[in-house]
Amino acid sequence: MSEPDDHDDVTAEPISFEAFRRSFYYGDHADMQFKYLARMSDEDAADVIAEVLQTVGEVVDTGDVDRLRQVVTDAQIRGYEPDEPAAPTVEDAPFTPLSTPLVDARLALLSAGGVFVQGDDPMGPDGPTQDQALDLIQEFLRGKATLSEIPADTSVDALTARHPGYDARTAQRDPQTVFPLGHLRALADEGRVRLADTHYAFTGATSQRRLEKQTAPAWAEHMAAREVDAVFLVAT
């Protein structure tokens, strides 16, 4: 259709590096481990990708997955680094001292990792898969968070996860990566803590305003009514 020129190939349009790095953020190459490439400078993103690929070549030889994990983590830290040093954006810091020794306190686990009991999907029996959830990120970010209830005696193997903001396949492989209920149960058996009857999870990708104004206070009220003394929170 259009006239090809020096910079134009009729068979394949050249792509910009910017378009490429942005494609990791819910685009053609959507990848929750690397979506921050979208917000880096071209140069930094290029260096991060090159460093990960360099490490891949090493790890294929050494089998040192810890090294790969370290490089991925360091790249994320760099990718999410705020433009300015972190400083409080809220004025107060509410703080409740633990009222009783931990062994007597009723502790609940609450994870933002989108964990739920298989067969008890908070979005209903036809809730989206992990892949489908990624396409729904905007709906999640505008929506209201739902609290999944997870009985204290739930087997870790009975849990699954879905989350449009991180790769919940990790939590599908091992829910304790973001929901350490088994560890807390072991600690309760050892007499270190006392567990509440119910534990909780929600999907942290949600309307922040609504969470702050409505949902989180309602959850706090719910837990206070159940005489929860302390909550172990897990971010993802």
């Binding site: 481990q33 991925v72 983590t73 994320q76 999410y80 680094e81 705020p82 972190a86 400083a87 409080p88 954006t89 809220v90 810091a93 509410p94 703080f95 409740t96 001292p97 633990l98 931990l102 306190a105 933002a112 990792g113 989350h163 903001g165 991180y166 790769d167 990790t170 939590a171 492989r173 091992d174 304790q176 990566t177 973001v178 929901f179 350490p180 560890h183 807390l184 072991a186 600690l187 270190r192 929600f202 942290g204 990708a205 922040q208 969470l211 702050e212 989180a216 206070p217 959850w219 009220e221 837990m223 206070a224 929860v228 302390a230 909550v231 172990f232 929170l233 897990v234 971010a235 993802t236």
Partner: protein
């Protein structure tokens, strides 16, 4: 995002008289700082593996232990334990 959500929930719980400890990863430490999370354990893990790698029970347990100790030990808001540096 999720670290911000956890920060908001932690604040609401504390305001309602419930003590909290929040576990997050280093990449999103700044979100906890911004929201003045009362007690936080920062882990040196990639996002989505806050407590520890898949099936790494030893590390996971260590993180949970650190969280419980902080819940007991913190006497003022803004007490952060960084497991990467051992602070």
């Amino acid at each position: 995002m999720c670290h911000g959500s956890v920060g908001l929930v932690a604040r609401a719980l504390e305001a309602a008289g419930i003590a909290t400890v929040s576990v997050g990863v280093r990449a999103f430490l700044h979100r906890f700082v911004e929201l003045q999370v009362p007690r936080a354990v920062i882990t040196p893990h990639p996002m989505g593996r806050t407590i520890g790698s898949v099936d790494d029970r030893v590390t996971q347990r260590r993180v949970v232990d650190a969280g419980l100790s902080l819940l007991e030990g913190a006497s003022a808001p803004g007490t952060f334990v960084d497991l990467a540096t051992g602070q």
